[in-house]
């Protein structure tokens, strides 16, 4: 590989091999011939792009070229998924079909997991907000602690053998905290799931 892509400095070689290792790792689901073909094509692109970069230092040229390619996941995931789907369809091989489905659904599963977490967060913050409002009209609504000071429950009714937590300030705290939680979750959700990927925009 080094003979085909002659790189001089030691730092550049480390960056190059680091990128090559990342490609090897990400391309693992593919058969060897496909893997080598894609890796060679990406490395060829990288080398030529670095060669034509205007920076003085070789390592800087390689870093710039890697940056211009974009996040490897951005281009390798659809590429791998397409190749595996085409192969599995052609062969009708259940193992190959399963492999391609795993690659395709990995991202979806992550989104599903985040959606479940955020769904729970939103539900809790809305319940606390509603309890804060209800507490104004019914002072039994609130957080109740057992006699040892441990958390007993979020409750809409009077709890025997328990002490209500901060009944005077509950509405203020519940409304404020739930509003902040709602705002924070929305910001986080936007950053994690909805904000367009910078690499995708390049």
């Amino acid at each position: 590989m080094t003979l085909q892509f002659p790189i001089k400095s030691e730092t550049s070689k480390k960056i190059w091999h680091g990128f090559e290792r990342e490609l090897n790792h990400k391309l693992k689901p593919l058969p060897e011939s496909e893997r080598d073909d894609i890796k060679m094509e990406i490395l060829s692109h990288l080398y030529e792009s670095a060669l034509n970069d205007k920076a003085d230092a070789e390592e800087e040229r390689i870093i710039n070229a890697i940056d211009r390619l974009g996040e490897p996941d951005l281009y390798l995931t659809p590429l791998i998924s397409d190749i595996l789907q085409a192969q599995s369809a052609a062969k009708g091989n259940p193992k190959a079909i399963a492999k391609s489905l795993i690659v395709t659904t990995q991202r979806s599963l992550l989104h599903l997991f985040l959606t479940a977490i955020f769904g729970f967060g939103y539900a809790v913050s809305m319940i606390i907000f509603i309890m804060g409002i209800m507490h104004i009209f019914n002072s039994d609504v609130g957080i109740w602690l057992d006699n040892n000071g441990g958390l007993l429950s979020l409750s809409f009714a009077f709890q025997p053998n328990a002490v209500q937590w901060m009944p005077e300030q509950f509405s203020f705290i519940a409304i404020t905290v739930s509003a902040f939680a709602y705002w924070g979750l929305s910001k986080l959700l936007y950053v994690l799931l909805l904000k367009p990927n910078k690499s995708a925009r390049k």
Binding site: Q4, F5, D37, I38, M40, E41, I42, S44, H45, Y47, E48, S49, N52, R68, L69, G70, E71, P72, L74, Y75, L76, P78, L79, D82, I83, A86, P196, S199, A200, R201, K202
Partner: protein, 114 residues
């Protein structure tokens, strides 16, 4: 949602369809390889694209039989994977050109009127 956010969402979809058309136009002129195609897109159009994202598109064009590939290594230089448009690719491109010309004229008319 702010206009910039809407543009951020709309632009990648807009580019994706356009890029396949541009790649075929480029390959109709001459066979080419990934880096050269990416550079030309960058130089000739205002489309900024993460260069790696061309490869899933090129792979799809190959899978659909619109292009073929061939590795070539010059005496001095890096190995390059060249893409060449096929008969089916030319036929598809001709249809794309008609759609593009018709759509472009009508959209341009609407843009001028707005």
């Amino acid at each position: 949602m702010l206009p910039d956010q809407i543009i951020d969402r709309w632009l990648p979809q807009f580019r994706k369809g356009l890029l396949e058309f541009i790649i075929l136009l480029k390959l109709k002129q001459d066979m080419s390889y990934g880096y050269e195609i990416a550079s030309e897109i960058k130089n000739l159009t205002s489309i900024e694209v993460a260069e790696g994202t061309l490869y899933p598109l090129l792979n799809r064009l190959k899978r659909d039989g619109l292009v073929t590939t061939e590795w070539k290594t010059e005496e001095v230089g890096t190995p390059r994977k060249y893409y060449q448009i096929t008969e089916s690719g030319i036929e598809t491109l001709d249809k794309m050109k008609i759609i593009w010309t018709n759509t472009h004229s009508s959209v341009l008319k609407m843009v001028m009127q707005s």
